[in-house]
């Protein structure tokens, strides 16, 4: 049986080598590309990314990839947005100007405020391992994270977090100080995860394996 083909969008933000390697490690045939036709026709698309929302959308527009990525969703194919990639799935972010995202999942992207943890101000970015928990009972069944335990620990590194319009789109959350952070979101075949599955050891690989093979 042929290896599942996954297309990873290279819009020049962040370390894509690790995403590619992790997917290959899970047995997928991975193509990292900026080619709009290849991206538009992808059955499984990964939107990685680390950095700023505005710069990311600018880069995507400059590379003329906006429509190609949209058409993957329109064709009812799978998309996995990772970290910044997850944030781009939403309507937009109003930090440092008004930036529009893809609007696949209704909601916006907010900046973290400093709150307290262990009597000291919360450090921003949120960097480190943190547990993910189901947003409601059994909601993980038949999803990319159906094999996770409650509190499965994943690696986060971000300064912004999502604010969902519809709680039905929330699969999993994590806690950081007083903040509740949406850690896995999903609408149809479009998934987003705030953490980096390619940097979360065997737990992350478990999720990527599901994305590759299911």
């Amino acid at each position: 049986m042929k290896n599942p083909k996954i297309v990873v969008v290279d819009y020049e933000m962040g370390n894509i080598l690790s995403v590619k390697r992790a997917l290959e490690y899970c047995g997928a045939d991975v193509l990292v590309t900026q080619d709009k036709e290849v991206i538009g026709n992808a059955q499984k698309l990964v939107l990685p990314g680390v950095g700023a929302f505005g710069a990311a959308m600018q880069s995507i527009k400059q590379l003329a990839l906006f429509d190609a990525i949209r058409s993957v969703a329109e064709n009812n194919n799978s998309i996995l947005g990772i970290c910044l990639g997850m944030q781009l799935l939403f309507d937009g972010s109003s930090e440092f100007g008004n930036y529009e995202g893809f609007g696949f999942i209704p909601g916006s992207v907010l900046s973290m405020q400093e709150k307290s943890l262990l009597g000291r101000d919360l450090k921003i970015p949120h960097i480190g391992w943190n547990g993910v928990y189901e947003s409601s009972k059994n909601v993980w069944k038949n999803t990319l994270i159906s094999d996770f335990d409650q509190g499965e620990e994943m690696y986060f590194v971000h300064s912004y977090y999502a604010n969902l319009n519809s709680p039905d789109d929330l699969l999993a959350y994590s806690k950081y100080g007083d903040l509740i952070i949406p850690s896995v979101v999903r609408r149809g075949k479009i998934y987003g995860c705030q953490f980096h599955p390619e940097k979360s050891g065997s737990s992350g690989l478990m999720m990527l394996r599901k994305f590759a093979h299911d």
């Binding site: 262990l118 450090k123 921003i124 970015p125 590194v157 300064s159 940097k199 050891g201």
Partner: protein, 253 residues
């Protein structure tokens, strides 16, 4: 709280610097890195310890190999002089770059790297030497050169310019096994809102607790205690649980 293994590299070898003078070869970095990954360290830091002598960071090959089957965050430092150095390192598979000397001589480099790749990729590395009561000086060239710069003021400035994390090494405590310099750590964590990783001086689990509770460290970098097998991450995690310090549970599967 993150437990980070620090690998100092010379050429192809993992080495241990003794107070940053004199080097002892320990072995192949790939083997040690994989063991730490399997033991459950939270991140890896690779420092090119002779880069400033030879002008450039030469860790791209080692990082590329590590990125093949190690799936935790990797920070790389030593001899990163420019945006394009940073780009090459990130492209090889690193998640963050740690910059010291080049940033001190040209703080704009911090903003350029942070703007291009994100603050979370831009780690400021500080080598600190105590010079007075509650005062520390920034050293460059892997601890060989003095600058007269105040560590706390420099940390503050660098974070304003976009550094997303600080790797803070106490030159005085490094290699002593007597504990981290938690006063130094506290001095820096009190003035910046980004995570600070304490490095230099680890000897036992209690030191980790102290530098987190009294120093405000968000993580610790440990080198020879790991390399010489003096401690396993399980012991460190246990100490964190006892002290109510949030840390990854990690159970070997």
């Amino acid at each position: 709280m993150r437990i980070i293994a620090r690998l100092d590299i010379k050429g192809e070898n993992l080495i241990k610097g003794i107070h940053l003078e004199g080097l002892r070869v320990i072995g192949p970095p790939a083997e040690y890195a994989m063991n730490y990954y399997l033991d459950g360290v939270d991140e890896l830091i690779y420092m090119d310890s002779v880069a400033s002598l030879y002008g450039r960071n030469h860790l791209a090959d080692i990082i590329q190999e590590a990125a093949r089957d190690i799936f935790i965050p990797i920070t790389v430092g030593g001899g990163i002089r420019s945006e394009s150095d940073a780009f090459n390192i990130l492209r090889s598979g690193a998640d963050k770059v740690a910059v010291n000397t080049a940033a001190v001589f040209n703080p704009q480099l911090i903003s350029r790297i942070a703007n291009k790749y994100g603050s979370q990729c831009m780690v400021l590395s500080i080598e600190a030497r105590k010079v007075g009561e509650n005062r520390w000086e920034v050293l460059t060239e892997n601890g060989r050169e003095k600058t007269g710069l105040d560590v706390v003021a420099w940390a503050r400035q660098a974070v304003e310019m976009g550094a997303g994390e600080i790797l803070l090494t106490s030159v005085d405590m490094e290699g002593t096994r007597k504990g981290f310099d938690f006063e130094l750590t506290n001095a820096v964590t009190s003035v910046v809102s980004v995570p600070v990783i304490a490095s230099g001086g680890f000897g036992c689990a209690q030191h980790l607790v102290d530098v987190v509770v009294s120093g405000g460290a968000s993580g610790v970098a440990i080198a020879d205690a790991f390399h010489y097998g003096r401690v396993k991450t399980k012991v460190l995690r246990e100490a964190c649980f006892q002290a109510n310090i949030p840390v990854r549970k990690y159970e070997k599967s």
